[in-house]
């Protein structure tokens, strides 16, 4: 072992992981190939392998940034709650990476959990274009419907403490953020007004994944293998999930395939109903597609604030505000189609 490796934070993480995994895996020899995966601003994701005497276990560590505890995560659920939700979804028959271990404070790794590493692709452009997924693509929309029906069927009395956020609360939250930017967006005003005028009843509130879209779906040549990133889960209108995956931003240019760029709404609705979900009202899904599109537009503005405040001076943060106009044309297509 060289001195350089000893100074490497990966070395410390490997030692701590080996110690912690003693609670979950028998005869653990070592932890190796620790590497940080990209993505995830609100948490860190690391891949590694744990070796026991007869077996290599491919695993993932999800933890608070820098291994801290009690990090302010805004609307995100605590990591231990996220692990709990993954376990509940698994019981319901949703494909998820099985949770190996939830970290505790004695582990010295901060808040987080360890789960199995599923092989597959999350990069939308590859899933939508590569030959390897050609057979999977026509099945994905129906599979998404089936998975969402199961997620929405998790018994409410089994759920951990989650934020309750039906349409009214979502609109208020994103309007406050938008107003705080002090920059006029007439198209956003039009969308807020539509959402106010068409507010759905809170007649069915369920577990909502909250970020069910391309990027958080692990796909193999056989179809969806795992639903990832449960940090935005909440109690809300289940149609929120169906609308969110139809938002044009997640179609990556394949605009004629409304579900994630790979399928039709009809296929998703059929899968939803076949898996036991109630019959779907397309107008209500459209409502949530409008809300989701607006929400992504407002989120682009939030990221500019991170730049302006000096918190993150990257060009990426600075430039993302200019993507709000993408959501404005999407909103016009939803609310005032074929006008010009």
């Amino acid at each position: 072992m060289s001195a350089a490796e000893n100074n490497d934070p990966k070395h410390d993480i490997a030692l701590a992981l080996r110690e912690a995994l003693g609670r979950a895996l028998a005869n653990i020899d070592l932890v190796r190939n620790v590497r940080r995966l990209s993505g995830g601003a609100s948490q860190e994701t690391w891949a590694f392998d744990a070796v026991t005497d007869h077996h290599v276990h491919p695993l993932i560590l999800r933890r608070a940034p820098g291994g801290h505890t009690n990090t302010k995560r805004d609307t995100a659920v605590p990591l231990a709650t996220e692990a709990h939700l993954i376990q509940l979804a698994q019981k319901q028959g949703v494909p998820v990476p099985p949770v190996t271990l939830v970290l505790d404070e004695t582990d010295g790794l901060g808040d987080g959990f360890i789960m199995e590493r599923i092989e597959g692709e999350t990069i939308a452009r590859k899933i939508l274009r590569d030959e390897a997924y050609a057979e999977a693509r026509p099945r994905l929309a129906r599979q998404c419907g089936e998975m969402l029906a199961r997620i929405h069927d998790v018994p409410l009395d089994k759920l951990p403490d989650l934020q309750r956020s039906p349409a009214r609360a979502e609109i208020d939250k994103y309007r406050d953020i938008y107003k705080s930017t002090n920059h006029p967006h007439p198209v956003f005003e039009l969308a807020f007004r539509y959402l106010e005028d068409n507010l759905p009843a809170d007649d069915r509130l369920t577990l909502v994944h909250g970020d069910f879209r391309n990027g958080n779906l692990m796909v193999g040549p056989d179809g969806v293998r795992a639903v990832l990133d449960w940090e935005l889960a909440h109690i809300g209108d289940p149609m929120e999930d169906l609308g969110w995956i139809c938002v044009n931003s997640w179609r990556f240019g394949e605009i004629d395939n409304p579900v994630g760029g790979f399928g039709s709404r009809e296929d998703m609705f059929a899968g939803y109903e076949a898996a036991g979900g109630p019959s779907v009202d397309p107008e209500r899904v459209k409502y949530w597609e409008v809300l989701g599109t607006l929400k992504w537009g407002v989120m682009c503005l939030i990221m500019v604030q991170a730049f302006s405040s000096g918190m993150d001076r990257s060009v990426e943060r600075a430039a993302i505000g200019r993507r709000a106009s993408e959501t404005e044309i999407d909103l016009l297509n939803l609310l005032a189609p074929r006008h010009i």
Binding site: V315, A319, E326, I329, H339
Partner: protein, 129 residues
């Protein structure tokens, strides 16, 4: 009047340096951020070319819609208030046209490769043909 090169040409020079000289020498995150930086400069170039005329046209449409004068920012704030309070809706003569034209101009500057923008431009071209 400023001397030459024009602002858009200075930005072009920096963008081409990033793309042709800096980016090939960078890897991973640095290469990615250089690509984002080059894209940001391309937005500035397009805004410098398209912005002055399109802002003037937007202000003229707003004055006509609102029957008031003011800065582009203030006129947009007034339009937002009118929409928010329900005084203007998609049934208001000229509102939908204005929002479409303004949004198409934003995308011509921000992201002309966005699929929904290209589709809208194709539709307009077909209507004009």
């Amino acid at each position: 009047m400023q001397d030459q090169p024009a602002a858009k040409d200075l930005v072009l020079a920096v963008r081409e340096f990033l793309e042709n000289v800096a980016m090939p020498k960078l890897e991973g995150h640095d290469a990615f951020h250089a690509r984002v930086a080059a894209n940001a400069l391309a937005i500035v170039e397009r805004e410098l070319v398209i912005g002055p005329d399109s802002n003037a046209e937007e202000a003229a449409r707003l004055r006509s819609l609102l029957g008031e004068d003011g800065s582009l920012h203030d006129l947009n704030v007034k339009l937002c208030d009118a929409i928010s309070e329900g005084r203007m809706t998609l049934d208001t003569q000229g509102l939908a046209d204005h929002l479409w034209l303004t949004t198409l101009t934003k995308l011509a500057i921000d992201q002309p490769r966005y699929a929904a923008y290209r589709r809208a431009k194709d539709t307009i071209a077909e209507l004009d043909a």
